[in-house]
Amino acid sequence: MDLDDLYRLLRGAHVQAQGIVDTVRDPLLVMDEDLCILSANPAFYRTFATGRDDSLGKRFEQLGDGQWQIAELQFLLEKVIPKSSAILDYEVTAEFPKIGPRTMLVSAQRLVHPEDGRRLLLLSIVDATEQRGKDNEKDLLIGEVRHRVKNLLAVTRALAKQTSVAGRTAEQYRDTFLGRFGALARALEVTIDRSSSDLPDLAKAVLEPYAGDGQTIKIDNAPVVPLQARQAMSLGMILHELATNALKYGALSAQGGQVALSWTTGKEQDGLEQVHMQWTESGGPAPVSPSQKGFGTRLIRSAAERELGGKVDLEFRPGGLVVSQSFPLRAQ
């Protein structure tokens, strides 16, 4: 029912109308030409946690303790009766007594008293606080998603540029790029599932393309370690680089070669929880120390030291590459 219907009802059968007004869920006020409150519905008393004595006979701007003293709203209300103008959803955000901060939408329209022809003002107040809160949350979320998408594009672009074209055919370049892109996507997938992701899930997801029948890459001693999304992305990229390197030059390039991945957690002297992770290759050819300028080495160092804020050590032992890294667990 809109105000027009209500207006007709009030004109025609005000007894019934009283019942209707009482059941309207939003606060309604009827005021005279001087903006003095003549009546209010139960929803008004309920919403503002107030009673008849504090409301009836008072001028509109005297309600509450000053929240309605708004010059602009006063001006608009004063025009409703003489000019038959209407106010639609005038927004008032204020701290109200007993009920706290609220956003109220005020609408007003002229009414004519069915018996004596007096001109009155019907005012409705809708508490839009919750809706506004939801709108704001939604706007924030949309803003964050926009930011993340653009950021991800920037990361992808950097990945494409950092994947070297030197000495690679177009096909090799594409496969290398897509391998890294895939690792990023898998890490992202794990982090999107929940706001934090667990280390075993991440390692399994990223290494799955290389793990073969589960015998080539063994994940042992793998306690659950909660990771922040950023940590997961970095670790995912590191594990991917180690795995592709193992496949091309390391243990996984030979029949019977193996990788063992494990990690433990423990408190350091400074009281911070640290994760210690070990990647141990065996059964492959003797490793050669790679170029310090290669993408893999740079990424592993940057991600482990800068992003994860930890340490990483690459040891090219005769039996195979051993990578030890440790990093602090961040608060979730």
Partner: protein, 115 residues
């Protein structure tokens, strides 16, 4: 020029570092956190700085303020809109390069900001 780079996305940091070195600049950092950036500034003063606006969900303003005190010009990069950045006093004067950016955008901004 000696360029301080503050960027928390490892891959983007690596990319910026490569680009700057290719163009004969010296890179300070890249710093992945505000604390690291401030530490670097304690030890050395760059000619210009390239700051990602959002570092681990925090605005880069502490670094911007320090640079302002040091009289070092800086360029802001972000996937956020410029108007989001203008809310911060320390950032209002800086050049803004929108992410994703290409090499030319960055080099042009550096040339404008540099001494």
């Amino acid at each position: 020029m000696k360029v301080l780079v503050v960027e928390d996305e490892v891959l983007i940091a690596m990319d910026i570092e490569t680009l700057l070195i290719e163009h004969g600049h010296l890179v300070l950092g890249p710093a992945c956190s505000i604390v690291d950036a401030l530490h670097l500034l304690d030890a050395e003063c760059p000619d210009v700085a390239l700051l990602d606006f959002n570092i681990h969900d925090q605005p880069v303003t502490p670094v911007a303020e320090r640079l302002r005190d040091l009289g070092v010009p800086f360029i802001l990069t972000s996937a956020y809109d410029a108007k989001e950045l203008r809310k911060y006093d320390a950032l209002t004067e800086a050049q803004f390069v929108k992410k994703p950016f290409d090499d030319h955008d960055l080099l042009r901004a550096l040339a404008r900001a540099g001494p």
